[in-house]
Amino acid sequence: MDTQEKLLEMEHITKKFPGVVALRDVQFALRRGEIHALLGENGAGKSTLIKVLTGVFERDGGDIFLEGRAVSPQSPQAAQNMGISTVYQEVNLCPNLSVAENVYIGREPGSAGRIDWKTINRKAAELLSRFDLHIDVTQNLDRYSVAVQQMVAIARAVDISAKVLILDEPTSSLTAVEVRKLFEIMRMLKARGMGIIFVTHFLDQVYEVSDTITVLRGGEYVCSSPTAELPKMQLVARMIGKEYEDLESRPSSSLADRGKRDLFLRLQGAASAQISHVDIDIQKGEVLGFSGLLGSGRSEIARLIFGVDPIVTGGLEIGGRKTAVKEPITAMRAGIGFCPENRKSEGIVGELSVRENIMLALQAKQGMLRAMSRRQSEKLADEYIEALSIKTPSREQSIHNLSGGNQQKVILARWLATAPDLLMLDEPTRGIDIGTKAEIQKLVTKLAGEGMSLVFISSEVDEMVRCCGRMVILRDKKLVGELTGEEISEDMIVKYMAGGEQFEPKTETIQ
């Protein structure tokens, strides 16, 4: 490798947290015009490496060279000034500011302290339309879904003309169409000589877009290699430290036993402020998928059933009885659980411990006055930390100190602990590594086999195909199709989602 080309080098990086060595003697090198995938299991240290590089954390040891010069950015802002632009795993924009403000915050165009709002709004809209995102940029960011927020964060980072662009799991809640758009833009930036660090758990994407791969495991550097020279099976083996067999196999029982089942829940002409007129039946012991593009209404149906967005008209029957669900707790008492898509704002309770986060829903379901004893809650937590292999130094660790994927597992544990009759999972494997993802998919099938009903929502079509026994497809907040058993295939879903022949999205040229 020509040293001239080296844009960024990190050597002997070490970072310790109380009870955890997150990084031990890690090295990483990025060249100009390279897309470099940084891979590893949940808790391997990927995000920590990025945060050390961008000054979020102070490193305990090691050196960082940017274009051959030793640097030590003290804050993300300082890193940005040096030419390192970052999209962190947990989108940290300001939900109460408008989309346009979020794109330009900290670098507003204008002169002498005056901010030129017209220009900001126009430029933001232009920028986002390059990503095929045609939204009202003057609206508050929190009006939009996680995926849109993720796109806004990416657009912002891309727009900062930087030398190094870092994307930490940028595609975790995007659908195929947006991912394609993102890759186009990444390739364009690469052609301009930018170096891009790309963290993801989607190996297909790694092979599609990256030039080089670096693997971390348990906080240590494992290997670095051109993507073309590292086949998938070998890569997975490097990541998990052992051979891995059944990645592609479809969970066995998902297709079998599709006889007549009892009805668990029925929505009839139900509508909330977000979605109108839904008719859906959910049977006992089935895995029902909701598919659709961003904003198609798939999450909205789940939120309506769970009482997050109250039903305005129409009816909801649970177990044959008409039920008015005004609040989540009512739905929970009727046997429903819901693991929401937006982990940071609707899932985790940041400063509380892993134990408290796991026990919270069960405790709420039991009622405030029937407190679980300390010992009971510890037992519960240990059980799930073990069952879902949650990586944490102790059950008393604050959940916000866990890696993204491990936080997701804690939320999953919270809902499994309530032993619901119907469990709705909105992007349950978001940010979860490949091994654990397969475990969760197996778990879903197993729970259904035991008689639990599941609603499964995921942007990952192949995961939907693998898990669901039946699937409804939504477009523009309407049900547009239903597939059962063998009919469920990637082609069919995609066709329905995009509305037949319109599937090829209109692409705008990018200059």
């Binding site: 989540p328 707790i329 819901f338 309770v349 405790q363």
Partner: protein, 343 residues
């Protein structure tokens, strides 16, 4: 043993307790020991420490009530006005100008004053939990209107009363100890039991950290907020009774004036974040004692009243520094670095 000590030093009440001891010790040294003197007269305990406890009882009661509001990320700045209302109701009844039928019955007066506090708290709770007004704005309404209401009750006059039974609330003794201390102890034990033996405490902390996530886990966020503000109103009414019994009357303009600031400060000094989350009632109570002992000792050291507030705020700044995690880390870092150099 040292293991246990280290554990304790991580506890939220550790630093407030150290500060309190330091202040008391400083007082003891400056006064040449007389600060700690206690006398028993007629089987009643007297002394500076007892004064601090008795005079601090109002603030302790308020801090117990307001801690939970702060822990959910809210606040209650109406407690001073609610104190005035409670004092006005009680004194007007004892005086006989209100409810002449009750003929100055102290028990009726106390119950109705507490009820008034509950209603005030409920009002705050409804505005915050149901109407979704920001807590500081919602409670500001009662903070401003409350004194007017109190004036209406007393018909704009300062009501002085003559009732030994009522005086007992502040000046009475049981087992040689001032009666207000028993009120504090009762409220304290009640709240501790309720927050520790039920899931109430956990739910409050969850709401304070992330109220949206909390709602998704099935916690009835609105109902818990309603309970918290109602309770804060009740505690303010209790403090109002103690205060009016102390001054032997109701002075609507001055009762509990600006005490909401001291109450919030007590909680902050106790180490509960005003952004919400983890809270500790014992730490808040110690916080209240710290503020009370600062006030008392500044007076006792003969500092001119004009300077009192300045001294008080300086001490508060120091306490906040000691509480600050960053500050502690910096200091600890300096020490360990020096130790490394010396080694």
């Amino acid at each position: 043993m040292s293991q246990k000590l280290r554990q304790f030093s991580k506890n939220q009440i550790f630093w407030p307790l150290m500060v309190l001891l330091a202040i008391l010790l400083a007082n003891g040294i400056v006064s040449g020991g007389s600060f700690f003197e206690m006398r028993i007269v007629d089987g009643h305990l007297y002394g500076r420490l007892i004064d601090i406890l008795r005079n601090g009882s109002k603030l302790m009661v308020l801090a117990i009530g307001i801690t939970m509001a702060l822990a959910t990320g809210g606040t209650d700045i109406s407690v001073g006005s609610v104190m005035a209302i409670s004092g006005a109701v009680a004194c007007s009844i004892v005086d006989g100008r209100l409810l002449p039928g009750a003929s100055g019955n102290v028990a009726v007066a106390v119950v109705l004053a507490l009820l008034a506090g509950v209603l005030c708290g409920l009002w705050n709770g409804v505005l915050i939990a149901k109407v979704k007004i920001q807590p500081i704005v919602a409670t500001m309404i009662l903070m401003v209107a409350g004194r007017g209401i109190a004036q209406l009750i007393t018909e704009g006059k300062i009501v002085t009363i003559n009732s030994d039974a009522y005086y007992f609330i502040n000046g009475g003794y049981i087992l040689g100890l001032p009666f207000p201390l028993f009120i504090v102890a009762f409220a304290f034990v009640l709240v501790m039991l309720f927050t520790r033996k039920t899931a109430f405490g956990l739910f409050i902390e969850a709401i304070g950290v992330n109220s949206v996530s909390s709602r998704f886990t099935g916690i009835k966020v609105d109902r818990i907020k309603l309970m918290i503000y109602t309770f804060s109103g009740l505690m303010a009414a209790v403090a109002g009774l103690i205060e009016s019994a102390g001054i032997k009357g109701a002075d609507c303009n001055n009762a509990g004036l600006l005490i909401e600031l001291d109450a919030i400060l007590s909680v902050a000094i106790g180490g509960t974040s005003l952004f919400g989350g983890r809270f500790s009632i014992p730490a808040s109570v110690i916080g209240a004692l710290i503020i009370q002992s600062i006030s008392t000792s500044v007076l006792a050291m003969g500092v001119a009243p004009e300077v009192t507030l300045v001294v008080k705020s300086l001490i508060v700044v120091v306490i906040c520094l000691v509480q600050s995690k960053k500050f502690k880390e910096t200091i600890a870092g300096k020490f360990s670095r020096r130790a490394v150099k010396e080694a």
